[in-house]
């Protein structure tokens, strides 16, 4: 039986199911008991304050505490209220959480999740709006989940909690209230499995997080002009399901990648590099990349919108890829 529930409800169900299933799972972060974006609301009623812990305002010590707890037998989920604040905890995430399993030659494991609402929602300002998921491609040992639908969010979060590695789980704030079909029965989505959100034969369009929806809207417009776009949501940036993208490229010979993270040094840069390095013979045109400009995100919603890729930008990028730019 499928129901339509919000992204928030899907995430909360993942928490509830995993916390019931495994008493080692607990949640910590600023205001997780009340639930600032509601994903953790009411968990404290069922699981108590020992497993739903409000932390002082210190992202680095909170992530550090999660690392220590994870190394000694628990499975913490630490919430970082805004994606931007991950930089406050970057030392603990990049230098510690991601590296001790390897450097200890497997003696330590760090099974933890950083749940982090993020992205531009129109008027939140420079430090509450960035999509920083690509910053976690570089450090070793981390996994990065970027769900775009309630269904993907629930299935990926459950897998992330069960994973024996540190996983960053980005929730775009424009997606949080959106509804989508989610089955009643339990399911998991493996980390590292892309999803083809729309089948097409002319261009492979890889879209990350909130841009999946813009990509789908752009694809509908293009379809009216006879251009069939295949929209692929990688769902996790690390590990990256290269096979699904490559299979699509073998059909379309055209690659466009869109993200709300910054274009320079972003996920698109990585994917374009993979494409020219490994799939050169399957490229009939230069790879088109779309991302946010390398500037601080301005406050005014009009300016903010001008910095990030729009549906029309995606339409134009697909046309450029096909040599049909207007």
């Amino acid at each position: 039986m499928n129901r339509r529930i919000t992204f928030i409800q899907a995430v909360r169900e993942a928490f509830q199911e995993e916390m019931r299933r495994d008493e080692r799972v607990f949640v910590m972060g600023q205001d997780v008991q009340a639930g600032i974006f509601a994903t953790t609301s009411k968990l404290v009623d069922e699981f108590g304050p020992a497993r739903v812990i409000n932390t002082p305002i210190c992202e680095s010590a909170s992530v550090g505490a999660a690392v220590g707890a994870a190394m000694t037998g628990l499975r913490p989920v630490v919430q970082i209220m805004f994606g931007d604040f991950n930089y406050l905890a970057m030392e603990m995430t990049a230098n510690q959480a991601g590296q001790w399993h390897y450097i200890s030659d497997g003696a330590l494991k760090v099974p933890m999740v950083i749940e982090t609402p993020s992205g531009a929602r129109g008027g939140a300002g420079y430090g509450h709006s960035q999509s920083l998921e690509a910053a976690f491609i570089l450090p070793p040992g981390l996994k990065v989940a970027v769900p775009a639908t309630p269904y993907d969010a629930k299935g990926l979060l459950k897998s992330a909690i069960r994973d024996d590695n540190p996983v960053l789980f980005f929730e775009h704030r424009r997606l949080l209230p959106q509804r989508g079909e989610v089955p009643e029965e339990e399911y998991l989505i493996p980390l590292g499995q892309a999803d083809i959100k729309r089948v097409g034969s002319d261009v492979t369009l890889v879209a990350v997080s909130v841009t999946v929806h813009k990509a789908l809207a752009a694809a509908e417009k293009l379809s009216q002009r006879g251009i069939e776009v295949e929209v692929i949501d990688p769902r996790t940036l690390v590990p990256l399901d290269k096979d699904t993208i490559f299979q699509s490229l073998q059909k379309t010979y055209h690659l466009v990648v869109v993200e709300e993270g910054r274009k320079r040094g972003g996920f698109g840069a990585e994917l374009a590099a993979i494409a020219v390095e490994e799939w050169f013979d399957y490229l009939d045109a230069p790879v088109q990349r779309l991302g946010t400009i390398s500037a601080a995100l301005p406050y005014s919603p009009v300016l903010e919108a001008a910095c990030i890729p729009s549906e029309e930008d995606i339409v134009q990028a697909v046309l450029r890829s096909l040599g049909q730019e207007e």
């Binding site: 607990f26 020992a50 497993r51 812990i53 932390t55 002082p56 210190c58 680095s60 010590a61 909170s62 992530v63 550090g64 505490a65 999660a66 690392v67 220590g68 707890a69 994870a70 190394m71 000694t72 037998g73 628990l74 913490p76 030392e91 603990m92 230098n95 510690q96 001790w100 399993h101 390897y102 450097i103 200890s104 030659d105 497997g106 003696a107 330590l108 494991k109 760090v110 099974p111 070793p140 040992g141 996994k143 024996d164 590695n165």
Partner: protein
Amino acid sequence: MQLEDDKRKELYRKMVTVRLLEKRVEQLVTAARIPCSGHFGLGQEAVGVGICGPLRYSDYIFGTHRGFAEYIGKGLTPREILSEYYGKATSLSRGRLGQHLLKPEIGIMPLPSSLGSEFGMAVGTALSTKLRGSDQVTVNLFGEGTAGQADFGPSLEMASLWQLPLVFVCNNNQYVELAHYRNVVATEDIAPRAGAYGIPYEIVDGNDIALVYGATAEAVSRARQGEGPMFLEFKTYRRCTHYTGDPGGYQPQEEIEIWVQKDPIDRCRATMMAEGMWTEADEQAMLASIADEIEAAVKFAEESPYPDPATIYEHIYA
């Protein structure tokens, strides 16, 4: 808490092992047999060894990068240390850790390269034991310079807020790298900062093994009984330079001389001899035995193979 005779002898032997091992490793670093630089703790052996005295193997300790006192104290052997320092395949990490000594099964937890990154992790292990209903205690040892790190205050706050079984130990050796600590530390004492977070604290002579042991035993006992965190500051002195290759010269000779007179190993030996529990013959036998252990460890590390480069792809993910 009283330091019993047998325990005193055990801690004495460990202190001497630390001192002789550091001297030997310094030679090996200088001779380029060991690739990393060395950071030693001449004169401050009683702190690291003493705080491990009351700990069980199952208790967690986060140690420092300076010397081997807490690692030998918690049960790591010269052979394990040297094989890591040499980067050999026979080390516990098969050549990955180097100076970042680690052995979780006896409670030796990560030594991060970035000083103070253990503050949050120590909160986490203490939170973990509390949530698991275990009576394990976590000890977080750090220097007076590291107390300047960003996570110092929040870790005190969390430990106090959640009444965690966590003992903070500041090893105040009076030098932060190449400068006297008062160049970069605003206060004479670090421990009173704990009071601001509602954590009881004590300042203790760090060159008296019995006092270090006793103060730690009480703090650990409180923590084990669920009475929350405590903060100990041990006053000691680093009689060596910051690292091998540091020419030094910034520590006044008179200052060093004062602390030579307070040497923790000499003091412990004098006490044991005055109490009739240690003789010159015991001393010579012990020195010979430690020298044998260290030389056997050097030989083992020298003769061990380097790791196979093909192993670099192992354990990237769990």
